[in-house]
């Protein structure tokens, strides 16, 4: 359907949509650079003060650091657990895949606020009392990114024809572990990196589980943003915009990587 040319109506319609979608972002951006913004269409004076204050704020830097390492640990843990598991399931137990699909779809169907209820109930008493700790959060994060990791790794394995690769390697005398580490892994690595980055950016924006599970004890960037919202609008805007820019850069890297691989993972 792409032989026709966009006429006046589609153009206006899409323009309106883009204005609608970008306006809140734009306003936050302007607010972050505005010295004082009241009663005028655009602020009267601009400043970089809010960004300066942001970087001087030790609590912000701590929250940023907490977010970074918690997300990193969760993604690395997920990689070490999921890579062998998805490999084994895809290659040796293809019949289990329908069961896997149910497990993988659960995080979509069960919203964060519902999942948090179960997690709090399970871990606030009894033998595993890890309520309010990073362990619980990392476990919860593992489930959040489960669909992305499973889908990404599985798609990469199918794209590179892992079964045939493995057969070829074994025919040439490689043991299974050697074949996995030396033949399969290097081939699926680009796809796996893309899913890992995507998972990372999803976790970076996570608020519900973080706030409900460890809100009082561990401050991630989202929790920090929520707490600063009421204090200084300008400072919070600066934080929100920096956060958004970070995610934007990350998703652009993702897109480039995805295109480079011929869309093997993201389609």
């Amino acid at each position: 359907m792409n032989i026709r040319k966009a006429g006046f109506a589609p153009r206006t319609f899409m323009l309106m949509l883009m204005v609608y979608l970008l306006l809140p972002l734009l306003a936050t951006g302007i607010y972050a650079f505005a010295q004082d913004w009241q009663n005028t269409l655009l602020p009267q004076a601009w400043t970089l003060n809010w960004f300066g204050e942001m970087f001087k704020d030790i609590r912000f830097l701590e929250a940023l650091w907490t977010s970074l390492y918690l997300c990193l640990i969760s993604v690395v843990l997920s990689l070490t657990v999921m890579l062998p598991a998805v490999f084994v399931i895809t290659i040796y137990f293809p019949r289990w895949e329908s069961f896997m699909k149910v497990i993988v779809v659960l995080p979509y169907a069960v919203p964060g606020v519902v999942a948090a209820v179960g997690l709090i109930r399970t871990y606030s008493s009894g033998p595993f009392n890890i309520a309010g700790t990073a362990y619980l959060l990392v476990g919860a994060y593992f489930v959040v990114i489960l669909p992305y990791m499973y889908q990404g790794i599985r798609n990469s394995l199918l794209t590179v024809n892992a079964v045939e690769l493995l057969h070829a390697a074994e025919l040439l005398g490689a043991r299974r572990r050697t074949a996995f580490v030396n033949v399969i892994l290097p081939n699926i690595w680009p796809g796996v990196i893309v899913s890992a980055l995507l998972s990372f950016s999803v976790l970076f924006g996570e608020f519900v589980l973080t706030n409900m599970l460890v809100g009082g004890h561990i401050q991630t960037i989202q929790v920090y943003l929520y707490q600063r919202m009421g204090e200084s609008g300008h400072l919070a805007s600066a934080i929100a915009i920096s956060y958004f820019l970070f995610i934007l850069v990350l998703s652009m890297v993702l897109m480039k990587l995805g295109k480079k691989m011929g869309g093997g993972v993201k389609g």
Binding site: N2, P10, Y20, V114, F142, F207, G267
Partner: protein
């Protein structure tokens, strides 16, 4: 042979443990919790009866259902129009537009609520501006109420609807349109008898995802209205992790009720995706179908998690 299977099983153990510990056991615990009495002894249906008889909880359920339905319906209508418009652009422009909408879908949850507070809150830039200009239309508008919530919910529903719907427009072949017009059908008749019936499964499937997305949205509502507007997700949050007295059993009960509606909605989507794929399998090449469903999964998830 024996050793072979041992190594294979070994690779699955950590995965099984993680899923069991952080997914299956918590869900089970929530289910049993919802049937437990407040003192933790014995089984009862009392919590459910209480939830369905209490005017307060019923209001939360009703508000959530209404807000989810309304925002999904608006989202799907706007999304349909936009998805159709997008098919008119060249692939280059189209990709740009899709990228922009994808980008804004990252702007959800706390930052989104915050942006709207800056724009339209009590001391928001536009609120003050409109007051100064004397535009009375906006004096009744209250961001921290039903209309404000709808506005913010629609914001994250529209890009999602667009991203989920536009692939199905490409399932409509140009030849069908030509054939229809050769047989004397006008554009209106084409859409009524061919276009819309083809899109219907995709529309209902997307509606399911949007509905589940809105039902589960917590961060946006929490950041915007706190506990001041009675929504199911907000209620659950304050019942299990509130500052005052927590009532985990009641929280579990409401969570199960909320979970049931979202599972139902996602199941609807699943059914519809299967129908679309069976239906479109001949028209679309195989990889296209795959791309579509995996993208559906990816974007749906990233949205949902973002809330």
């Amino acid at each position: 042979m024996k050793q072979k299977s041992r190594g294979v099983i070994l690779a699955l153990i950590p995965f099984a443990l993680m899923v069991l510990a952080f997914q299956l056991v918590p869900v089970l615990s929530m289910l049993t919790g919802s049937f437990q009495k407040a003192d933790g002894t014995g089984l009862t249906l009392g919590n459910y009866l209480h939830a369905l008889q209490s005017a307060y909880y019923m209001q939360a359920i009703k508000n959530s259902l209404l807000i989810s339905l309304t925002s999904s319906l608006i989202g799907i209508i706007v999304g349909l129009f936009c998805a159709y418009c997008i098919t008119w652009f060249t692939p280059r422009v189209r990709d740009r537009l899709l990228m922009l909408s994808n980008m804004t879908s990252n702007f959800a949850g706390v930052p989104l609520a915050f942006a709207y507070i800056i724009l339209l809150g009590n001391n928001g830039v536009f609120t003050l501006l409109f007051k100064q200009w004397g535009w009375s239309v906006f004096t009744d508008f209250d961001l921290y109420s039903w209309s404000g919530l709808i506005l913010v919910y629609v914001y994250f529903q529209v890009p999602l609807a667009l991203l989920l719907l536009y692939p199905s427009f490409y399932g409509i072949r140009e030849q069908w349109r030509e054939a229809a017009s050769l047989l004397g059908a006008g554009p209106w008749q084409f859409w009524k008898t061919i276009g819309l019936p083809i899109l219907t499964p995709a529309i209902f499937g997307t509606l399911g995802i949007l509905f589940a997305n809105a039902m589960g949205a917590y961060a946006t509502a929490y950041a915007l209205v706190g506990g001041n507007y009675n929504l199911l997700a907000v209620r659950i949050g304050s019942l299990v992790a509130g500052d005052v007295v927590t009532q985990p059993e009641m929280g579990s009960t409401l969570a199960v009720l909320l979970g049931l509606t979202t599972i139902l909605a996602v199941y609807l989507n699943h059914l519809m995706v299967r129908r679309t794929e069976r239906f479109g399998a001949k028209a679309l090449s195989k990889p296209d179908v795959k791309t579509k469903s995996s993208r559906r999964l990816w974007t749906a998830a990233s949205e949902e998690v973002g809330q």
